[in-house]
Amino acid sequence: MAPEVAFSNITDKNEFTKFTKFLAYKGVQVIVESRKGVKIEPNSKPKTSDTDWFNLQIPDSSEVNQATKNALPSDRVLETIKSQLHVEISVQTEDGDEMVLELWTLQLDETQFDTSLKAMNTVYFRMGILLKSLITITRITPAYHLSRKQRLESFTIFYRVYSGEAKLKALGDSVKTIQAGLLKTPLGALVFSVTYRTNFSITPNRSDNNKALLLKSDHFELSPKHVIFESKKKKEEKRESKPSGPIDLDKPLRLAAFVDETLVKRTFEEFYTKIPIPDHYRPEKLPVSPVKEKEIMSKSTQELDDSAASKSPNSLEMPPKKFSGFRHENEPPIKLLLFPFADTHPIRELAEFYKDFFNAPHLKLTDELTQSNKSLEPVLEDVELTNEDLSKDLELYENSVVEFDELLADMCRSAEWSGN
């Protein structure tokens, strides 16, 4: 144990307490700064005043200072450090898995004291060296390398400052302890040390506890979550960008959902009686069960969505192309890819044939015929009508054959007269 009267006067003891307090504050700052994942480059730090503690340009994050303050009450500095002050560094993946990486400890070990060190300026100077050692050692533990990667990977490093008994169990079974520096003072030795885990495998705390997830540098680069998220986003975009084309007035009006069909029908009839329209302009009948049609449309969209959701994200993004057999009117014609030195190959002949067949212009009448039977009927009627007219005309002309003959004879006669 350190002697009761370690310092010759109370001022020295108060000064020592003050120095120790700032050593703890700066120590925590050094540890946390080194785990931010930022490399300290030349001229990266703002120029500070020349009154920095321990003549070292260590950052002063107010958040970190507050965390230290909570764990280290100003009126119980030495007592708290005697019972150990800890900084716990842990990593958390985006899946929520957490792992404690290391535990830094500042302790005042009363068994190792040095009563010969009386000058407070020497204590202050040596505390500066102790901090330099701490800065150096923070760069050689595995957590430093992990923290430097955290900006590229999907995990975050956390810190926690607490005092009292060390929670070493969180580090797992395989640990290593390093002493980062020791300063013997009349009240005991101020010791910075770190205990870190050597086994860096995360055991997911969900359903499967047996499988250990090894934390690899490239593990999180292509997580399935990302893919799903991306595909969802694309799906939403597709839905939003559904084109709302101009209203086609030629198409029959459709009723919205829950509209009283009979009321609409009555209104139409009333309208037609008040304002008579020529028969051929008047629609033959109102749309048959428009609500039903609407239902079918909704269903099809729903089906698409359902089927899409059950499929893998890849198939959603790129729906399989089906061969329609014929080129659609708006579809661009096929272009042959030109492969060098492949002109004489038999497959090229087939490709040429296929191209010509595919690119053949559309016959509109054929299209119309195949579209619907309804559209076919009027065409046939037209043809019949035309045939009827022709036979009437023919009959008329046949009946007038005598007249034509007489006319022709007259014309011939008049020609003879004029010739003579």
């Binding site: 300290i40 020349d50 003549n55 060296i129 150096t136 760069r139 520096g181």
Partner: protein, 221 residues
Amino acid sequence: MNARTIAFELSMEGRQVDEVVASIFHTVLFHRSSGKFTYNSEESYSIRTVSYIDVDCDFIDFTYVCCESELLGRNVKREIADFSELLRTVDGTSAPPRGSISLEFFQKRRARWPFQPECVPWEVWTVFCEIAEARNEHDMHAKHENVVEMLQDKIMYITEIINRHQYVPKMPSRSDADLIFDTSYPDIQPYLFKIHYNLSGAPQTTVGNTVRKILRETLSL
């Protein structure tokens, strides 16, 4: 006075020499440098702040800390590069190339005119380097890991030695500052130091060498 000597033996690839030596020397120099002194009177002074930076190695998976001083970095780099170049040009067919490089801290003692001040080393850090090129990729990987582990051990050992607080020169008065510290740097104030090297593998601080050196320095006008 006997200087405290600390020696490290390391085996590495030729391309790693610069970074291995630099990481050891800069770690030592970071601990052995203080901020610039500003003397208010002969005995009273204030010390300015030391800034530090991280250095990522290219040929080893290692990061070390050094003082933020462009001039110091340049001076140390030049000395190490000269040594590394010399070592790598050695024909290693019969035996692997070996060499040593030392970072020596010294203090000056005033001598009577017309003699030069005497340089007394008080701490010498020597790195014995042996170049062992990898035979294949697997061997290279194993050697690389080995170098990193060895360096981590050395860095820990350096901090342990320095925190023992054995002899270091006393803080000087204004008139003696140049006898203890190198005051030529604009941003930091390291203890007086020099870097020397040889290829024999034997340390230079043998009694014979030291006597010869003292005689040479004493007689040089």
